[in-house]
Subunit: 116 residues, 3 copies
Amino acid sequence: MLIDGDAKLLRIFVGESDKINGVPVYENIVLEARRVGLAGATVTKGIMGFGGSSRLHTAKILRLSEDMPLVIEIVDSVEKIENFIPVINAIFENANCGGLITVEKMQIIKYSADKK
Amino acid sequence: MLIDGDAKLLRIFVGESDKINGVPVYENIVLEARRVGLAGATVTKGIMGFGGSSRLHTAKILRLSEDMPLVIEIVDSVEKIENFIPVINAIFENANCGGLITVEKMQIIKYSADKK
Amino acid sequence: MLIDGDAKLLRIFVGESDKINGVPVYENIVLEARRVGLAGATVTKGIMGFGGSSRLHTAKILRLSEDMPLVIEIVDSVEKIENFIPVINAIFENANCGGLITVEKMQIIKYSADKK
């Protein structure tokens, strides 16, 4: 269980169309984060972007585009985040896709499990 | 009025379906942030995620889902952010919902009010 | 090419409706970021927010609203981010619009170009 204090924010930038055996890379990462007991994960979908390839992706040009940029955000203790990074690297290698992984220091003010 | 310099980024992770008397928690937080004069707030909706309960939420499984993860971001001076945290805690208690509140240091390079 | 290590996360909060000669400000910023060779950019669209003007924008009230808050995120080396800030300021001035620019320190764990 997470407690208040210093923690890390892990952010993973990945393409919506990157897949392993038909399963999106972002789904693989979120499911694996849940399996290993990380505190939570949130996936946000962009409306425009470009990455390592400099290919431009935009929802404006291609309304039904399924290759938008995604950001996965995971907050947990320093140790748990560090242990999870090799897991993401392995997923990227299996998918043969590129991606950007960043880590920031932050402070958890409050964390409480959903009461419902 | 915000000026250039050190500031804090407050991020609140909350579920879309959490409510107080029918009003979503995220709306309560944004309206309260405006009422107390914070510089701004932005709510982003995720497409997949899990939180304290480890329940998985995904727009893929449930296309019309109204229980997606949300992230509220508020940037302001260190003092104003610190004063706002008890307000969020009170909203969480009223809603009887869980949530994650994080704070990061950052630097404001430019802030200008909308000129229109 | 980005390598592992200290870097900066540049975040730009801007309105969807801000334009220069009919081209959205966020598009101007992303295209310029690509032109000058930054590592990548991702634009995320909010569902509710307010900024310097305290005008409230929400997708709930106005379903087809084209004035939602946007966040543009760019990760690159300290030097490249610093060099890009005057470019954004010039775009804001041309658009005669307000906006918030923030910078955070972070660490790049992995960056690899898209292999496809």
